[in-house]
Amino acid sequence: MGVEETQEPKTLGSGFITTSLDKLVNWSRASSMWPLTFGLACCAIEMMATGAARFDLDRMGILFRASPRQADVIIIAGTVTKKMVPVIKTVYEQMPEPRYVIAMGACASSGGIFDTYSTVQGVDEFLPVDVYIPGCPPRPEGLLYGLMKLQDKIRAERNTFGAAIGVGDVIHNKA
């Protein structure tokens, strides 16, 4: 047991070529994070504002996609009711890997003001969340900052090229 824990994970290695290829993959992933067009409550209004002309997500290569098959990121923008959980799970499972989850706002992060029988107390109860954005709702600047944090996280991943050709798994470093 103890031996396995200390073992180096299987990678392509960390030579000049492989790390450069990783960087290329990470650059392309971080520069084209396509989120799913998916809003649940008031936070979605702020997400739309972030996507529109004034804050303009397109300039960062972030284009909303209407199909989970084409999306890399799902922004959970709003209050998640227990009735909505199976829907979100289905949509998440339809997204191709690598996929990332942003919990936008107090509701998605913790249930927010809705401490009730019908509301999920944070989407991390059923999804692996990468970035939490506080606020009720977060301003567009907040969402932009969260997206940039996610870009930092993607840029710091290792062995992404290796994982893409089937050697080992992606190693997540602290951004």
Binding site: K83, D115, T116, Y117, S118
Partner: protein, 160 residues
């Protein structure tokens, strides 16, 4: 026709059913027995012109008897008049006849009322949950339902 005249007509037709009439700020509320609710509603629609059921809901008076009250808010589109009918429902015998045969819109309102309050509607064509997930247990708008759900510790107030 004034509200007063309408109340008199109902009283004349269903004298034994009317439990009380309250007028408050120009709104008239008639409390009736639940037994003949379909006949009363049909009479309201056909003879008095209340052709629109604005809302049907349940009220939980926990601790009182009878515990529940089913409320019908009616509207007469022609004369722009409103009236409210209430029917008390016991906790042990929490059911009342459906009025979805009188106003089609009552169908979903009654489903909601059953879903959240647990008042059953006899002869309802499709009494399923409408707001809560289909496999939910309990009726969350009842006053004795724990606010944060049955599987969590109740809120104790701020600890700091």
């Amino acid at each position: 026709m004034s509200d007063q005249a309408i109340v008199e007509k109902i009283k004349a037709k269903f004298s034994s059913e009317v439990l009380g009439v309250v007028e408050f700020r120009g709104e008239t509320t008639i409390t009736v027995n639940k037994g003949q609710i379909v006949e009363i509603c049909t009479f309201m629609r056909d003879k008095l012109g209340y052709n629109f059921l604005c809302d049907l809901c349940g009220v939980d008076y926990l601790g009182k008897s009878p515990r529940f009250m089913v409320v019908y808010n009616l509207y007469n589109i022609t004369t722009k008049q409103r009236i409210r009918i209430k029917a008390p429902v016991d906790e042990q015998d929490a059911n009342i006849d459906t009025v979805s045969t009188v106003w089609g819109t009552a169908n979903w309102h009654e489903r909601e009322c059953w879903d959240l309050m647990g008042i059953e509607f006899n002869n309802h064509p499709d009494l399923r949950r409408i707001l809560m997930p289909a496999d939910w247990e309990g009726h969350p708008l009842r006053k004795d339902y724990p606010l944060q759900g049955p599987d969590r510790e109740p809120y104790q107030g701020r600890l700091s």
